[in-house]
Point group: C2
C-alpha cells in the first residue's frame, strides 16, 4: 500500500473505533511515536510497536470517548495528515475536555514508521 492507501485504511479503522487494529496492521515493528508535549513519566517519544500499543491501551483505558470526528487523510509524498477531534472524559480526574489534534504519519514499505502529534502545549 502507498501512503494514501495506508492513510485511508487508518482513518477507516479509527472511525470504526478499531485504533488498536489500525496500529497492529498498519504500523511497522520499528514505529516511533512522538508527542508535542512531554507525557508524565514517558517523555515525548515511544519506540517500537509494543511501546506504541501500550500507549494506545493506556489512553483508551483512561478515557471515556463521548464522540469523535476524524478527518483526512491529506497526503503528500510518503506522508499523510489526519485530524482527530475527541470529546472525552479523563477517568482518573473525571474531567471532560475537547481534544483537537493532528497527526503527521510517515510511511515506508507500506507501513507507518513514524507518527507525530501536533497540538498546543502548556498554558
Amino acid at each position: 500500500m502507498n501512503a494514501i492507501e495506508v492513510g485511508q485504511k487508518l482513518v477507516e479503522l479509527c472511525k470504526a473505533n478499531k485504533n488498536m487494529e489500525a496500529m497492529e496492521t498498519l504500523y511497522s515493528p520499528d514505529i516511533v511515536s512522538v508527542e508535542a508535549a512531554e507525557m508524565p513519566g514517558l517523555g515525548r517519544e515511544a519506540k517500537g510497536l509494543q511501546a506504541v500499543l501500550g500507549k494506545g491501551k493506556w489512553w483508551s483505558e483512561n478515557h471515556i470517548v463521548h464522540s469523535q470526528e476524524i478527518e483526512g487523510p491529506w497526503p503528500h509524498g510518503d506522508r499523510f495528515i489526519v485530524r482527530f477531534k475527541y470529546d472525552v472524559t479523563n477517568k482518573p480526574t473525571n474531567q471532560r475536555r475537547q481534544m483537537d489534534e493532528v497527526g503527521l504519519f510517515t510511511v515506508q514499505d507500506g507501513k507507518v514508521v513514524r507518527e507525530e502529534f501536533f497540538y498546543p502545549t502548556g498554558p
Copy 2:
C-alpha cells in the same frame, strides 16, 4: 518568535486576507515551498522568497475566493500545521471548487523556512 507565535501570526494574517504580508514578514529569504502535486510548468518546489511570492501572486490573480476557513496552528516543536479551506472559482476555467488542504510549516530562527502542502492528487 517561536514556532507557535509564528503560526498564530500567520493564521491571523491569512484570516485577514493578508497572505502576501504573511509571506513578506514571516518567511525566510531561503523559504522552500513544496506542493503535493506537480504544478504545470513549475514542478513541485519553489525556492526563495521571490519565487514563493510569485506563486502566491499567481494564485490570487487566478482565483476568486468566495469564502475561506482557516484553522490552527497546531504546533509540534519547531513546526506547526494549518488547515485551509477555500471556496474558489478558477478565473481561466470559470470552474468553482472546494479546496481543503493542510500546510506543514517549519520555523528556524523565527522565520518559516519550509512549507509543505498536503492534499489529494490525481484521480
